[in-house]
């Protein structure tokens, strides 16, 4: 039988990539018979020869962006065609359900039905002749009539009937709610998006996930929720250490996953202590966008700081206990390249990079010169010869948008060596350009644009 997935009607562009990632993780071959960004109902088919009930349950058990999956009993453009299709698909099943306890419900997308309307719609299904008791609480079987309308209040253009098979992993969202988390900061990623990111990264038992911009640990926490080993690093040691008993470690303790937390490191993405070995399964991160404070990496452009600095007492400055290493401005685009290259050199074949970045587009400004600037500032999606782009998901805010990019590490032998060499040469050119005195400001289009066009944006 086919299956109907009841999706949530938000974060639409994340929904199919999330389920595709979970299908791939479980080794399931899912065929999408119908899917639309405008609808919360999708229909899928599993290949013959497998237990489709188990497959359906497995597919959505971790998913955040759907509520439940149903065995599809029928579909139509109005009630007449729906009933005909139900009869055609399931008449042979009705006797099996004659005596079970059950419940029928109506799920009307973009619509509202009075209780009386609901009852009369449900009564039209009486021909299936279920004689068992109608039970509200934990019936043996739950049936749902789905009505899909394009706009609020219009006549449904599609109708479906489904029998509930399994509910999703969306419950975790509440558990990881930032409001209930011991340690958070202003840039902590919200629970839902962190968990979705962990799904797209295919975090799971026996795997290792790493976040090079770990902050308060939202992504590693989400990956550990799915059983993955995790660790991370951040340029700012204060965010890992937190304050008092509010630390990244304490968050893992709160969720009972500290076994899976390998630890937090203070490190700069451009000078990472991670070995150049292909050991990671997932890299997950939300790098700094360089908006509020400019982007920084270790180093200095000042000539005097290119050598060991001696203090008045003759001691070496960098060996003192409270030494703070200098940092210099850096361009956002170079940092994105660094993240891709970091991932390409450390992910196992098939391992995934999930990275958030601003889109910096989609703003309708009256002033044409401004509009031009905005258009120019929209980022290209960064590419790397050893990383295949798997999915591009966009989250829109009032005045700006950001994307979650998902890449897969191509198997070693399929990476084009010439492309790789060309790529490394190009990175060097950009690095030299920057060292030749271009300011981080010039190189960082998003930052400039943010200050020009988004002054009142609430992030």
């Amino acid at each position: 039988m086919d299956y109907l997935i009841r999706l949530v009607q938000m974060h639409e562009t994340f929904r199919k990539p999330e389920l595709d990632a979970l299908a791939d993780l479980a080794g399931l071959d899912v065929q999408w018979l119908s899917y639309s960004l405008a609808s919360p109902f999708a229909i899928v088919r599993f290949p013959p020869g497998i237990d489709t009930t188990v497959a359906a349950r497995t597919l959505i058990s971790r998913s955040l962006l759907c509520n439940a999956i149903y065995e599809l009993w029928g579909t139509g453009t109005d009630y007449t065609t729906l009933h005909a299709d139900i009869r055609h698909r399931t008449e042979f099943l009705w006797p099996h359900y004659r005596d079970v306890s059950f419940r029928f419900e109506l799920d009307s997308f973009h619509g509202s039905r009075t209780t009386a309307e609901q009852r009369s719609i449900i009564e039209t299904f009486a021909y299936m002749d279920f004689q068992g008791p109608i039970v509200m609480n934990r019936p043996d079987h739950q049936f749902r009539v789905f009505e899909d309308s394009e706009l609020i209040g219009t006549t449904p253009h599609a109708l479906h009937l489904g029998r509930l098979v399994a509910t999703s992993g969306r419950k975790a969202m509440n558990m990881y709610n930032l409001k209930k988390r011991r340690y958070i900061a202003t840039t902590s990623m919200d629970a839902e998006l962190s968990l979705i990111t962990a799904n797209l990264a295919q975090a799971g038992p026996g795997r290792i996930a790493y976040d090079p911009f770990v902050g308060t640990g939202s992504f590693p926490l989400a990956c550990a929720h799915f059983g993955s080993m995790v660790f991370g690093s951040d340029l700012d040691g204060r965010c890992i250490r937190g304050k008092g008993d509010k630390t990244v470690q304490s968050n893992f303790e709160q969720y009972g996953t500290s076994t899976l937390y390998l630890g937090g490191l203070v490190a700069d993405i451009t000078n990472t202590p991670l070995r150049e070995e292909r050991l990671l399964n997932c890299v997950v991160c939300d790098p700094p966008y360089g908006v509020r404070e400019g982007l920084k990496v270790l180093g200095s452009n000042r000539a005097v700081l290119q050598d060991v600095v001696y203090l008045a007492d003759g001691k070496q400055a960098h060996l003192q206990p409270n030494y703070i290493p200098p940092k210099k401005p850096y361009s956002f685009l170079r940092m994105l390249d660094d993240i891709l290259d970091f991932s390409a050199t450390r992910l196992v074949d098939g391992g995934r990079l999930c990275m958030w970045m601003p889109v910096a587009g989609a703003v309708d400004l009256d002033d044409h010169s401004e509009a031009q600037a905005v258009k120019d500032a929209e980022y290209e999606i960064p590419r790397h010869p050893a990383l295949e782009l798997v999915a591009v998901c966009t989250q829109d805010f009032n005045k700006w948008s950001r994307r979650l990019l998902t890449y897969r590490r191509a198997p070693g032998e399929s990476v084009d060596e010439d492309a790789m060499l060309a790529y490394q040469a190009q990175r060097l050119t950009v690095a030299n350009m920057e060292d030749d005195g271009k300011k981080a400001d010039d190189l960082n289009a998003f930052r400039r644009k943010y200050f020009q066009g988004f002054k009142n944006a609430t992030v």
Binding site: P205, L265, R275, Q306, V309
Partner: protein, 130 residues
Amino acid sequence: MKLLTLNFLTCARKTCKSNAAAFPLHPKEAELEQVETDMNPLFIKNILPRLDWEAMKTLTTELGLPNLPAETPSDEELATDGEPSQTAKDLHTLLMETSIQSGKLVCGNCEHEYAVKEGIANFLLPSHMV
């Protein structure tokens, strides 16, 4: 920082990355802590092939911990009658339950020392080293 983490780390200096002497980092004045955690046999099994066993042996010797077997244990050695074997339990204790709380990690190539405080290692470098 769990001891397992050390198997993934080397010196942060770019000039040391390709030098064999930079891995593993050598603990110095290390204070260890042991916290009992649930054993995950699947993880031990999955992580073993990815471990640099020589580096693990060096680490245990330098920390004065019981010696590891000469070679990476095989899957068969990890279970006896379907239950985790003593070897698996020992590995769990070493990799997952033991952590470095404070001390230093020293690069065998450039001799730079990275401080570990409150279980967090600091790999930031002064500008003359980046």
